[in-house]
Symmetry: C2
Subunit: 335 residues, 2 copies
Amino acid sequence: MSTSNRQIVLKARPKGRVTRENFETKTSPVATLRDGEFLVRTLYLSIDPTIRGWIDRDTYLPAVEVGAVVRSAGAGVVVESKNPKFNVGDHVFSLLGWQEYAVVGAKESPAAIPPGIDLTDALSVFGVTGMTAFFGLNEIGRPNAGETVVVSGAAGATGSIVGQLAKAKGCRVVGIAGSAAKCEWLTRDLGFDVAINYKTDDVGARLTAACPKGIDVFFDNVGGSILNEALARIALRGRVVLCGAISQYDNLDNAYGPPNYVNLIARRGRMEGFIILDYAPRFMEGVMALGALLAEGKLKHKTTVVDGLDSAPDALRRLFTGDHDGKLLVKVADG
Amino acid sequence: MSTSNRQIVLKARPKGRVTRENFETKTSPVATLRDGEFLVRTLYLSIDPTIRGWIDRDTYLPAVEVGAVVRSAGAGVVVESKNPKFNVGDHVFSLLGWQEYAVVGAKESPAAIPPGIDLTDALSVFGVTGMTAFFGLNEIGRPNAGETVVVSGAAGATGSIVGQLAKAKGCRVVGIAGSAAKCEWLTRDLGFDVAINYKTDDVGARLTAACPKGIDVFFDNVGGSILNEALARIALRGRVVLCGAISQYDNLDNAYGPPNYVNLIARRGRMEGFIILDYAPRFMEGVMALGALLAEGKLKHKTTVVDGLDSAPDALRRLFTGDHDGKLLVKVADG
């Protein structure tokens, strides 16, 4: 097998939107394994908004150092092992990073992917994306049947699952997305009751019409003025699930604060953030619930796969322009 | 007894800071009692920030109509009764309004004040103010011993009690107030660990120094940039208790939104509002807890009393300028 390892490292922290110039490619020898470690050949990388935070500043994990491999979740195959739990040929999910080969130990949080599970599913509906939707909605949002749930970034990997989970719970579901095609997908294919195109519609007016009893749960992936419009219409004891703020990540030093947060006082509202890693011990619960819905045909999802390790920087940039459908993955090698 | 009733009614909704011109005085005959009602002679009125909301717009209660008596909590003495539970001579707490006499029925939420309880205490530490501090801190903030609790409006009626309750729980307590004298009162008399004068200090820098492990609970009475500075320093799983936003009430249509709300995501923070009326069935619990602390000498409080019904509009205005100490009451008549 090859002993050289192509890697994409952080060259300079982004100012505003990420560009190719923030990264550079280098080739290093594959490191020697220590006891307990194993070597994974990367097959797919998961392109997630949180990477934008990791390469920018300390968040819930320390910032990626300039010169270091870009941190990223991914799925791959074990090609060498000094860990009795992971054998050559096994498929694993782990923090692999943007590189062809990753030495994986406990701190990369590896998990086995059972035979028969498609790796793209393992990185989307059964991965962090699906878990984020499941635990964020149920543990933070806590929707009840008959309530109104609004989702921003609704055609995205997480948002599209959130909406379908809320429908399965008997909620009225309104999605906010960025194109007519995405909106049509939400209402026609995924069963959303209403879809709002934030690029062409008056979001506030459409939310008022779509949510006559107010918004019980707002699952927010975007932040900005859309969050503010949702807070304007938050129902008594409404809940705002702070999953992300993708509209703000490029400019966090001048982020937008939603003035309508004051409505949380009189309406006894709650706005709460979460990080999915905290729920890792309960992921089986989420996988089983999503698997059951998939089996019943009640959960659809889309994946956009782009080819080649070198396309990872552009793929990350695409997350912020929205010109992709569902979960965005980079295919690094054939499995 | 007098059959005429002097009342202060809403003349025009305030634009910005309240002024005397928002109100006018009129004299009406005292209404005839129906079965279940009783007549209360107002002795004290409680001047609370929430009145600013009530005369402006629908909040958790419908807006006071223009021409109607200004809604206000108060304490008084029963002078006539067609309700077997309330007898002439009894002291009561109720939504009396800015008037000399109030006809009280179930919708004014009357509660008996036991003999021996000072009416000014009944309207402050044992009233909505004390209950707001107790339930807001314990039910929304949920502080644990050793945690850092920051309170804004700390020298106010609610804030000063919040800080002392947090001290009694074994927390590190930092207060933010608007004068050197208030700050000295907090640290010297009330046992706050640190007091910050927001008018002269760099609030952010002082919070950083005073909260080396971040802010576990921020009890917010003021909103605005102080809320944003607290959110900048929110600890992992920190809680923001949204009690009020007095810095914003004069200008809600152009309210300030705190950009640092995004920190709630990575730090798994929670920002939650509450309305004390929801806890009314549990008020006895709060009264007992505060009474026990008072008896042990662990709870101090200040009251500013101004004389005469006609001073109510100016008193309401004073809440927003901060030139009062502790609980602000209007004395309408001798008990």
